[in-house]
């Protein structure tokens, strides 16, 4: 099972939309896919029309006495399941802190799922915390959406810096530009911005699109209601590129570039 995590220190950068749309695309190809909504706000769960409630909450999740499989909900899309969020996940940090090996906890609870799914996409809450550190341990690749602004870039640099202290297995960091608005001068200069980033960036960009914003109204991945739109095709291209990078071990990996 490959584990992707969509992650950003900063909120509102299109992280959840990415997790949901890429999950949809992977499942459509026949990959048995699970999206894990680890963000207490439960946006991914909302997009899939699944109630953001998990019996036992964060406490039993972390203690490891939860049968994760029984909490999984099928989405409306074949081959795509969801592990919903729970509001109690906002205390997940505290719960993790009380375990003996907090940073290994997520990887541990995921183990039984490895047989059932080929791909897991974790939608993380925006913050740097024990939770995100534990996700870094469990994930193979972090997908980091960045809005083409200096502030967003700065948070990416912060992230890269903080990853230096993660002694995890090799973790890929795949940044990509998201919510790119051609009407804004700053956004048109993504190439300049990219040159300031010390790691390779995915070439595909997700444009700013009201169709993506409408995911909340449709409560569905963008492909379900606007499959031919520019936004949908941008996600197609992004997913293809990510797959290639993963297969070929391209991009930046902690502990050295490539693998």
């Amino acid at each position: 099972m490959r584990v992707l995590a969509t992650y950003s220190i900063k909120g509102g950068v299109g992280k959840t939309a990415t997790a949901v749309n890429l999950g949809f695309l992977a499942a459509r190809e026949g990959t048995r896919t699970l999206v894990w909504d680890l963000d207490p706000q439960g946006a991914a769960s909302f997009y899939f029309r699944v109630k953001a409630r998990v019996k036992g909450g964060g406490k039993s999740l972390v203690r490891g006495d939860m049968d994760l499989d029984s909490r999984i909900k099928a989405t409306d899309f074949p081959g795509l399941d969801l592990l919903p969020a729970d509001f109690s996940y906002r205390h997940l940090d505290l719960e993790l802190d009380q375990t003996s090996k907090p940073v290994k906890q997520i990887a541990r609870v995921l183990k039984p799922l490895a047989r059932e799914y080929d791909l897991l996409i974790i939608d993380c809450a925006p913050s740097i915390s024990l939770v995100s550190e534990s996700v870094f341990r469990a994930a193979d690749v972090l997908l980091v959406p960045i809005i083409p602004t200096p502030l967003s870039l700065r948070t990416l640099l912060q992230l890269l810096k903080s990853l230096q202290s993660v002694k995890a297995k090799q973790l890929g960091v795949y940044p990509f530009f998201c919510m790119v608005d051609r009407r804004k001068a700053l956004h048109r200069r993504t190439a300049d911005l990219a040159s300031a980033i010390p790691v390779p960036i995915l070439r595909s960009q997700i444009p700013y699109s009201s169709l993506v914003e409408q995911m909340g109204a449709h409560r569905a991945p963008v492909h379900a209601y606007a499959g031919k739109s520019v936004a949908a095709r941008a996600y197609d291209a992004l997913w293809r590129e990510i797959r290639t990078w993963m297969e070929e071990g391209r991009g930046f990996y902690t502990g050295g570039t490539g693998r």
Binding site: G30, R32, F48, R49, I72, K73, D76, D81, D118, R219
Partner: protein, 575 residues
Amino acid sequence: MSLFVLEPEISADVVLRGLGEAFVVEPRDQARRRFTYLDTFDWRLQAAGLSLAVSPSGRGVRLLLLSDDGRSQEARAPQTPRFASDLPPGPFRESLESLSSIRRFLPRAHADWREELFALLNEDEKTVVRLLVRRGDASLPGKRQRAPVPVQLHLESLKGYEAEFRKAASLVRKAFGLRPQDRGDLGMILGALGRTPGDYSSTFQIDLDPELRSDEAARSIHRCLLAAMLANQDGMIQDLDPEFLHDFRVAVRRTRSALAQVTGVFPDPVLRHFGEEFRWLGERTGPTRDMDVYLLKIPGYQKALPEGVRDQLDPLVRFLSKKKRKEHGRLLRSMGSKRYARLLDDWGAFLRSPAGPDPGLPNAGRPIRLVASERIWKVYRKVLKRGRRTDRKTSPETLHQLRIDCKKLRYLMTFFQSLYPPEALKPLIKELKNLQDTLGDFNDLYVQRAALLGFAGEMLATGAAPPATLMAMGQLMGQLETRQSVEGDAFRERFQRFAGEKNRRRFRSLFAGAEEGVSAVGPVTAPTELHTAGGHEERTPAGPDASLPSGATPAPTEPERPEATPGAPEGEEGP
């Protein structure tokens, strides 16, 4: 997933309206699909309550595995799998692999479906149950004729929404009195086509009337065995999977055993002629089977070697595959021969001919229950006698002979199992099987070593064996030798158990007494009859069968099936 079949007077619309009281029912999709249903020749999936359907999808195929209890699994593959091992790794493949094993998937039926998909939604407009309405017709592979299949309703349970599924299923059940189908998808389709699944099984099964004249009973047994040969003939010619040839050979061997062991029922010329002809057939099919057996052993060999060395066996695989193709070609020529065609014709004609009022043979007119018990009892005591003479120093040849005696006994018990209470017979068959397995393993290890040495020689002569391959084969031979001494010890233990007082009592109470003069007189440990060498009925038609085939590559012991089928051990019972 739960499958309902609509009665002709209930339309799908009515059911949909009924479900509409608890759910929002939304039409989602319409499609035409052609499904091909797969199963093994011996219906292993059907027996396990599974239906495997393949339909074209994109550049590959979509596979759907439905279990009769309502669960479903889906997978994709680049093409229709021939074997479970062709599937991409994962739970889907694992569900099938343990069942079908080395048997090939064959198309069993085609169905052309018009599918309408509906979503049952909850208050969040989330799909909580899927409903598939299917109409269509079906056909058998290679047949033009089509038959309509009753309209099907499939309710599909979605993970995490089991309660909603139960509600929908009970609505359908209660409101319309529909019952979930337990025949499964394929079972239903075959039903519509007037075909019964499960028409072939490698297990020998015949119900004999205990009072039936023995010559009639023997004919029935032989007819069964002939039918098994004919059933496997095509698959064996096409080499679809190794089991066709294997089952064919088992039927030939059982035929020979029945000819020789069910004594005094057929005239001597018949025994001699068909005994010789079936021996010939066994011989002609042996070399291909031997290659199959070694090819099937390769994964085990690879596992037994250190990881870095495993690839070194590739030349051996190529060598065996090539040899097998050659041998299979020879086999095909034999199967195409006049001799083979005549054998089947004559044998079939003989088995269909009436037995006649008084054939003047000692056992022909006697009830089969007597003859069966006499024969089993006699062969049983022969096994005990020979087994008692074995010790640590007993040669592999002698153990091989004992193994053949065991096999004769096993075949007899299998032929006549319907004459005895199953609860009494089954434990004895099991004990015997255990003993046979151990003997088989022992013999097999011995034979494998000799075979590997033979292969190495042949490969070397043709330059097909790099030194590293020969060394890997040598390593295997060493391991086989170590295991052989362990198996030898296991045999002695098993035999003690088999020959123990409890089993002797069981055998005696079931089989002794039919024969005059033996009836429970004296302990079994003291054989009451002199074992005269060369007693005609004690021999297979081929004559003495004590030693391993000389000269040729020794025949391997074939793996026993998990079920209670008499195994399919080595090639020929005679040299």
